[in-house]
């Protein structure tokens, strides 16, 4: 998939911008706070109608404005040339695909894959399990309608069961009624998370080896809260745990408490990994995500690199570029063109450069140097 045109209106701090992308590699350069990340955020928004920076949709609409709009022309391997338009109002979003309104997220999810590399990604290694679960859910649900359906059912059934536990008057039969729908959905999630993470782990290992020149083995491992992907076993466990659940007023067992961990040289990267190892791990994870999207859908995701490369040493930067798929479109940002910092990389070919200032994006016609 390639983005050919991207138009923003009243999106964050960008009043209006219309960019035409040519070629495969695009670099947005400018000082902080001028709209580079907002543009990547808009490009990433088309995948799941979610921002990688915030869950508060209000923040996406420019101050003192009512509506924001993202519009893009996409060159798509399967659907040909497609026009996507997203309108954001406070608390409401509308998606139009070639003049047809799309009302169900399930019909759209995963068709237009993008992968964001952001400095916030470090939180995937260091942060709380909730962030990792969110990443895993988005990655798996985007490519598997069955996973998405199970996740929706599970989330709803869990919310109902927890509401019942909080009400202080939970009858066993009522808890049982919701467990009946909760357990099969939970078993599906456990099974698909396990098999999905196995594939992602292999791919991460390969990417990490490329980033670090094969010096050390890396991996991810699944830590399920309930081991068995079996609805009957979970039903029995939920039934046995009811008294405790009532006491704690919440459901204590299930995939909503799953986690996964990163390892480098077979030790936990969260506790023992160096800064550089952790950074390489999240880059490798994002590369694995991109490979997963491509393998599952046959569509090459657009890679959106938000100022991540500035933090890497030149050797790793070079290895990062050689690790990515050379057919994928890349839109990267940075405060300066790395080339001017004295590290041009001849292998990269030509970049299309946009200078960003005050929400204004100007294409630099003469730019032929390559950022590394």
């Amino acid at each position: 998939m390639r983005l050919r045109k991207l138009t923003l209106r009243h999106f964050r701090n960008v009043g209006f911008a219309a960019l035409e992308f040519s070629g495969r590699q695009h670099f947005l350069v400018g000082a902080n706070g001028h709209g580079k990340t907002s543009l990547l955020e808009a490009a990433g928004f088309i995948t799941a109608l979610r921002s990688f920076r915030t869950s508060e949709q209000k923040q996406l609409v420019m101050l003192a404005q009512h509506t924001a709009a993202i519009s893009c022309a996409v060159e798509h391997e399967q659907q040909g040339d497609t026009q996507l338009t997203i309108k954001l109002r406070h608390g409401d979003k509308e998606l139009w695909c070639d003049q047809t309104r799309v009302t169900r997220l399930a019909d759209h999810l995963g068709k237009f894959p993008t992968v964001v590399f952001s400095s916030q990604d470090l939180q995937l290694v260091r942060g709380s399990p909730a962030g990792r679960r969110r990443w895993l859910d988005l990655t798996l649900a985007a490519m598997d309608a069955g996973y998405f359906r199970a996740l929706q059912t599970f989330t709803r059934a869990l919310a109902e069961r927890n509401a019942l536990l909080k009400s202080g008057r939970p009858a066993d039969q009522e808890l049982a009624a919701f467990e009946q729908t909760l357990a099969p959905a939970a078993a599906t999630l456990i099974e698909l998370r396990r098999s999905g993470l196995q594939v992602l782990a292999k791919s991460l290992e390969a990417s990490y080896a490329k980033l670090c020149d094969g010096a050390e083995p890396a991996g991810v491992g699944y830590d399920p809260n309930f081991e068995e992907a079996d609805a009957d076993a979970l039903l029995a466990r939920l039934e046995a745990g009811r008294a405790r659940d009532v006491q704690f007023r919440t459901t204590l067992v299930g995939p909503h408490r799953d986690d996964f961990h990163f390892t480098v040289k077979h030790t936990a990267a969260k506790e023992f990994g160096s800064e550089g190892q952790q950074r390489s791990l999240v880059l490798a994870l994002r590369l694995a995500q991109a490979a997963w999207f491509h393998a599952k859908s046959g569509v090459r995701p657009v890679l959106l690199c938000d100022d991540v490369l500035g933090e890497l040493d030149p050797a790793r930067r070079r290895r990062f570029w050689s690790a990515i798929d050379h057919e994928s479109q890349v839109i990267a940002t940075g405060t300066s063109l790395p080339a001017t910092a004295g590290q041009p990389d001849g292998e990269l070919g030509t970049w299309q450069v946009f200078r960003v200032a005050d929400g204004d994006f100007a294409e630099e016609v003469a730019a032929a140097e390559a950022p590394a």
């Binding site: 309608a145 059934a157 109902e160 069961r161 039969q173 009522e174 009624a177 009946q180």
Partner: protein
Amino acid sequence: MTPAFDKLQQHLKQLPGLGYRSSERIALHLLVEKPARLPALVVALEEAARSVRRCACCGNLAEGEHCAICADERRDRSVVCVVEQVPDLVAIERSASFRGAYHVLHGKLSPIHGVGPDDLNLAALRARVESGEIAELILALSNDVEGEATCHYLTEHLPGGRPVKVTRIGFGLPSGGGVLYADSVTLKSALDSRRVYS
């Protein structure tokens, strides 16, 4: 505008489906544009409030002890279709494809919205099953988490000793619709509930 007008608008706005603008429009219509309609509306409201109640047997709207369907001798009372709300019953009636009786639960289990088994019209259903008049229960509740939980709760709590066949309505493609435009969830349930073609 005026205190009395504002009060009327406030009351209208609390009705389901009415917002600020539509309640204002209705209030203006009744008081200024077509005041002649008002007395008839007031009478109709009072009369309905006096006479409309729940059918003692099935929970449908009734003016006497029983609703028109329960009172109809030609209906097959041994097959009972369980629905969430009265409009669901009306929709099935409009299809003219069902000649049995109904049971309206007036909701579905949803702890999030504070709806428990005591809020549903379940006791009357149990009494009907106990009386032995029911041979088949058709569960025509929505197929979301709450609808499924209600179906499960309901079947687990039927009185024992009475063999009742419990069925669930099918979920699949809309009539006259093609496979192409159906969403993936609908297609899955349509495939799951496929049947032998003969």
